[in-house]
């Protein structure tokens, strides 16, 4: 027997989770009702859920007035109140017709979004769109995304951008991420969202310092001036480091 790939294993696990939850649907439904729960600094993974540490992701980072990528017609995208600096916007995109309503803010690379969207197989995959605010001189690294049929959690590490990238202290930009989940989720069934950020720049399970050395300072003398390019998953459409 050919050993299964990691991705295939995860898919199977996701299916198993979905079936498991279907078996106690009533209880779950009762507990969550019709209201949505959103939490910040949630646990980074969901016990019993599926976790991807390196999902296919498209990052759009921009200094825009609102989320640079959003779903047209999603009125009043839910967000966390009171925490201006780390507002969370999210949307589950489970059908091609919904994916066709993805809007990209003017001046950004809409082609990359279109390409990412069209290479998604909605019968077995789901796009999860999440937008976070981040200080301009920092960036988020997606550590993991974790999901069950009714819950999604993301975990990020916040990292300082290289010293020679121009940015203004105290200003904030948006980072929108389209994350391709290898599972066919039902948007209506997902009622709970959460996200956590490690301010020390560590992903749970990070190794030693070498990786961070590369990522944080692209001119670190010991690294010979290489390797500081964006650590965020590719392909990335970026318009970061704007304006001062």
């Amino acid at each position: 027997m050919v050993p299964p790939t990691r991705r295939r294993l995860l898919r199977t696990a996701a299916a198993a989770t979905a079936i498991g939850l279907a078996g106690c649907n009533g209880r779950v439904g009762e507990r969550s009702g019709t209201s949505r729960s959103v939490s910040e600094n949630a646990d980074s993974t969901i016990p019993g859920g599926t976790t991807e540490r390196d999902p296919e992701t498209l990052l759009v980072r921009a200094d825009t007035d609102g989320p640079p990528v959003r779903v047209d017609g999603d009125e009043g995208t839910p967000e966390l109140p009171r925490r201006q600096s780390s507002r969370l916007f999210y949307a589950v995109i489970d059908t091609r017709s919904r994916a066709d309503r993805l809007l990209v803010a003017d001046g950004l690379d809409a082609d990359a979004v279109a390409a990412f969207r069209s290479s998604t197989a909605f019968d077995s995959e789901t796009l999860y769109l999440e937008t976070r605010r981040v200080e301009e001189c920092f960036r988020l690294r997606l550590c993991s995304v974790s999901w069950t049929a009714d819950r999604i959690r993301t975990a990020y590490a916040r990292e300082l951008r290289p010293y020679d990238e121009r940015c203004a202290a105290g200003e904030a930009v948006y980072e929108s991420r389209l994350i391709r989940l290898p599972a066919a989720l039902d948007r209506e069934a997902v009622t709970s969202y959460g996200s956590s950020t490690d301010g020390q720049g560590r992903c749970h399970g990070d190794g030693g310092d070498r990786r961070r050395d590369r990522e944080n300072g692209r001119r670190a003398p010991e690294n010979g001036g290489t390797g500081g390019d964006t650590p965020t998953p590719t392909p990335a459409a970026t318009r970061g480091g704007t304006s001062e």
Binding site: E136, G170, E244
Partner: protein
């Protein structure tokens, strides 16, 4: 910090007081009615963060003016390597730039602190901070300007730690007066211990290479300054001794042993703690003072002999303060202010007790550290009071009252604690 100028808080309260007399303010200064205390009835404290302790640490060594000037010059030389103004063309990342500028500002502030310091020891300490902050900024810039590598600075810090270990192992406990020797040697021990034990800066992982270089620069400078100061204090002290000065090590060791034993038996004979705790000010004070005594008793014997003697002094102060507290609780005291004058009285009693203890203690050299500690506690209470600009419920003042009471109890316990330590040093 009680200069002729009015603090902003004071000016605010004065204006508010005037307005209230005219009948148009809730900050009324006329009475303590309704159980709430108007801010104008509270002690006249400096703005938050501006309170200065009335006694600060000192060491019985003649620290030369020139020595302090050299440290200030070193700070200025480090700051001089950074282009001013440091702009986006120099360091494009605004956050990184801000970190460097903040450190440079902090260095300048510490230089100012050193100039205003009440003792040369505290000036020396401020200058150590000044040097370290300045080096942070300077090395951060050196990363950009000349590619300074973290490895160089780590190497520098390692070499300093090795020097510190060598210095420590050669530390000879000489002296003529055992009290003075204990205080000086303890100061040297404490300063050098931090260099040996504190091996790396505590920084977040996500700081980036430039700020890591800055952190290591700060760490190296701080280690170098501490070791240099330790050496200087030690040499100055030894030079000041008469020719017949001998080793005080046996005296210090015997005293340390006797005091450790004393602390152990005091700890063992502490009365049982009441199990039910209502969380009122009496309970809090009792719990805190007891915990303080216990932890000091536990930690004092960990150090080398001179530090043990000095730390045991503070631990004895803590036990005696706890005994005094229990007596006052027994006498029915509740430690909650009923009026503004209660708070004023607690504060002025604390200050008077500290001053009196400095006068009365059989050894001002030994008394200074625990009294500086008590004086710091008063400033914490002042900072808490400074936040109130409106009428306040008495229970809200429990924390500053607790600080003032603690400072008073400790200050009053200092002479007896010193007495006991002198006995131990006498053999």
């Amino acid at each position: 910090m009680t200069g002729p100028e009015l603090s902003t808080r004071r000016a605010f309260l004065l204006a508010a007081g005037t307005a209230s007399l005219a009948g148009c303010s809730e900050l009324g200064a006329r009475s303590d009615d309704g159980g709430e205390i108007p801010p104008t009835r509270l002690p006249d404290v400096p703005d938050e963060g501006d309170a200065e302790p009335i006694v600060v640490d000192d060491v019985p060594v003649d620290i030369e003016r020139e020595r302090l000037d050299e440290a200030a010059a070193r700070t200025e030389a480090l700051l001089g390597t950074i282009p001013i103004p440091l702009g986006p063309a120099d360091v494009p990342n605004g956050h990184v730039r801000e970190e460097l500028l903040t450190a440079a500002d902090a260095a300048t502030d510490r230089l100012d602190d050193a100039r205003a310091a009440a003792t040369r020891l505290s000036a020396m300490r401020s200058l150590r901070r000044a040097r370290a902050e300045a080096r942070y900024a300077a090395e951060g810039w050196a990363f950009v300007a000349s590619g300074r590598a973290e490895a160089e600075l780590r190497g520098e810090r390692r070499a300093i730690a090795r020097d510190a270990e060598r210095f420590r192992s050669n530390h000879a406990y000489v002296g003529d007066d055992p009290v003075r020797a204990a205080v000086v040697h303890a100061t040297v021990e404490g300063t050098v211990r931090r260099v040996v034990e504190d091996r790396g800066p505590s920084m977040g992982a996500a700081q980036g290479a430039l700020l890591r270089v800055a952190e290591w620069g700060e760490h190296a400078e701080s280690g170098r300054a501490s070791l240099d100061d330790s050496r200087y204090l030690y040499d100055r002290f030894v030079d000041s001794l008469s020719d017949d000065a001998a080793s005080v090590a046996p005296t210090l060791e015997a005293a340390a042993e006797s005091l450790t034993e004393d602390l152990r038996s005091r700890q063992e004979s502490l009365p049982p703690e009441p199990t039910a705790s209502s969380g009122d000010p009496v309970d809090r004070l009792r719990r805190r003072l007891r915990r303080d005594a216990e932890s000091r008793a536990r930690n004092a014997p960990d150090g080398p002999p001179a530090s043990t003697v000095v730390d045991a002094t503070a631990a004895l102060v803590a036990f005696l303060a706890y005994d005094r507290l229990l007596e006052r609780i027994e006498a029915g005291e509740r430690f909650r202010a009923e009026s503004g004058s209660d708070v004023r009285e607690r504060r002025s009693t604390a200050i008077a007790s500290i001053r009196a203890a400095l006068e009365d203690a059989p050894s001002p050299e030994l008394a200074r550290e625990p009294l500086a500690d008590a004086a710091r506690i008063v400033t914490y209470g002042d900072d808490e009071l400074a936040r109130y600009r409106r009428r306040v419920r008495p229970a809200r003042l429990d924390a500053p009252i607790r600080r003032y009471v603690t400072a008073t109890l400790r200050a009053r316990s200092v002479p007896a604690a010193c007495e006991r330590v002198l006995e131990a040093l006498d053999g």
